[in-house]
């Protein structure tokens, strides 16, 4: 395991990630986006409640390194209030910069991006 030094931002998000867990019951359409797998080093699920084309609330569940968890939390938070279509527009570069991401981990961020994008385009109704 590479001796990574995590940025304070990553540490804070990892220690207390916003929007973690399951979507509570509520009105609107439930959507679910998923990407990755343990074999790929990151596996991310987003769930969102969409009301009038906008994300009312989004949550994530992730298996992966601290950067994956931090990024998933940031994306879930960012989704809140946005038009659902914008879930496809996660800015990986900005995310990487915000998290001070080691370049070797960029692939994992793409998985987070994919999971969010699938919420927009291929989003299947949540359970």
């Amino acid at each position: 395991m590479s001796p990574t030094d995590y940025s304070p931002r990553v540490r804070a998000l990892f220690a207390g990630p916003p929007c973690a867990g399951h979507l509570p019951e509520g009105p609107g359409e439930r959507r679910r986006g998923e990407a990755g797998s343990p074999e790929q080093g990151a596996w991310v699920v987003f769930e969102a409640r969409v009301v009038a084309g906008r994300v009312g609330e989004a949550v994530f569940r992730a298996w992966g390194c601290p950067h994956v968890i931090a990024a998933s939390a940031l994306v879930a938070e960012w989704l809140g209030g946005r038009p659902i279509g914008e879930a496809a527009d996660v800015d990986v570069q900005a995310l990487a910069a915000e998290l001070d991401l080691p370049p070797a981990k960029l692939g994992r961020l793409l998985i987070v991006q994919d999971a969010a994008a699938s919420l927009a385009s291929l989003g299947v109704p949540g359970r």
Partner: protein, 393 residues
């Protein structure tokens, strides 16, 4: 940082230096200069201390002092034993037997031998992590010159059937190199009982300083060794270079202390390890990697289904210091090849922790570490997508 100090559970990577060892080394360093090879009184004093240390190191493994060659650590001892013995024997045969779960020092030395025209048989242990004598028996060929196997594995702590393998090798006139880095000072090690021609060990795993190790080289019959380094003829021509007095002196004292403490420490540490395991076993889907016994007392390697290794380590930061895979190879992000050889998937290998206990580990620390581990695993499992416990397995 507030709160209690973190619990050090990485004794298999390196053990804290015993305070008495640190003291005697400091005194050595403060003392007058003396090159053990020089004739004047400073040199003679240094030499006398080095020879006393050699006797202390030899006693730990029931060897004659003259059979001990000081090196810079087990990595060099393994290289000198494996490369040295195989290269010296290359006119007799070019076949070497080892296992896939050796430390990289042996593994990479054997790979080097392959590039030099040797053929290497890579034994694979069972899921219990043991390499058995019968596997070695099957692998031996008329052109086999060397068997290189570890006494206990540094990741799982599992002990191999070395005495049986030693008898087998001796019966066939094949040299046996044993990496005892994880056993010396932790369980009884007797070079005669092992039946080994070459035994590698290192100070920093048993309360001594890093940067000094030893290679036991049997006297009768004495295996021919092609040295790795050439120079001033020190250490019987096998290991030139000015010997640092403080390093063997620290190693020697650490060996003496470890030998004296062993009868008490071995059961104590073993009991603490089982206490740790029983407290972790409250979790669903945790498994030991490798057999529980026979093993060195202080290593517990646990697989936590459903978690990710790097996150687990960060979760434990400042609370528990442990290794994911072996520390020696943890500069790489690759999953442990040892756990892979035992049949674990990449993700499962990465979701495993080596928790290693030792001399200064207490029951209170074990309980604190266990509580932190249980909480960490529960939190990460809760964060993970449903099904993670089944898919990371």
């Amino acid at each position: 940082m507030s709160g209690p100090a973190s619990v050090y559970l990485d004794y298999a990577a390196t053990a804290p230096v015993d305070p008495r060892v640190a003291e005697v080394m400091a005194e050595c360093l403060r003392g007058p200069a003396g090159n053990p090879s020089s004739v004047h009184p400073g040199g003679r004093r240094a030499r006398a201390r080095v020879e006393r240390a050699r006797a202390q190191v030899a006693a730990l493994v029931s060897a004659a002092p003259a059979a001990i060659v000081f090196t810079s650590g087990a990595t060099e001892s393994d290289n000198l034993g494996v490369l040295g013995a195989a290269r010296a024997a290359r006119d007799r045969g070019r076949h070497v037997v080892t296992s896939r779960t050796e430390h990289r020092a042996v593994l990479d030395a054997c790979r080097r031998l392959e590039r030099e025209g040797f053929e290497v048989t890579w034994l694979r242990p069972g899921v219990d992590g043991r390499v058995l004598a019968e596997q070695v028996a099957e692998a031996l060929r008329p052109d086999t010159v060397l068997v290189a196997l570890m006494h206990a594995n540094n990741e799982t702590g599992v002990v191999n059937e070395i005495p049986e393998i030693g008898r087998l090798c001796r019966g066939r006139g094949v040299l046996l190199h044993v990496d005892a880095a994880q056993t010396a000072g932790r369980i009884p090690v007797d070079v005669e009982t092992l039946g080994a021609d070459l035994v590698a060990f290192t100070a920093h795993k048993l309360g001594g300083p890093a940067g000094i190790g030893a290679l036991y080289v049997r006297r009768e019959p004495r295996p021919a060794l092609d040295p790795l380094l050439f120079g001033g003829g020190q250490e019987g021509g096998l290991r030139p270079g000015t010997l640092a007095t403080h390093q063997p002196v620290g190693f020697g004292l650490a060996c003496e202390i470890a030998a004296a403490a062993l009868p008490v420490e071995e059961p104590r540490v073993r009991a603490l390890r089982e206490r740790l395991w029983s407290r972790l076993a409250v979790l669903d889907r945790v498994e030991r990697n490798g057999a529980a016994e026979p093993s060195v007392p202080g290593i517990l390697n646990v697989f936590f289904a459903g978690v990710e290794g790097e996150s687990l380590l960060l979760e434990l930061e400042g609370i528990v210091e442990a290794s994911s895979g072996s520390a020696c190879s943890s500069a790489r992000a690759e999953p442990s090849y040892v756990l892979r050889a035992l049949g674990r998937s990449d993700a499962a290998a990465q979701a495993s922790l080596r928790l290693s206990l030792g001399r200064f580990t207490t029951a209170e620390e074990v309980d604190r570490a266990a509580a932190a581990l249980v909480a960490a695993v529960r939190r990460l499992r809760a964060l993970a997508p449903e099904g993670a416990m089944e898919r990371v397995a």
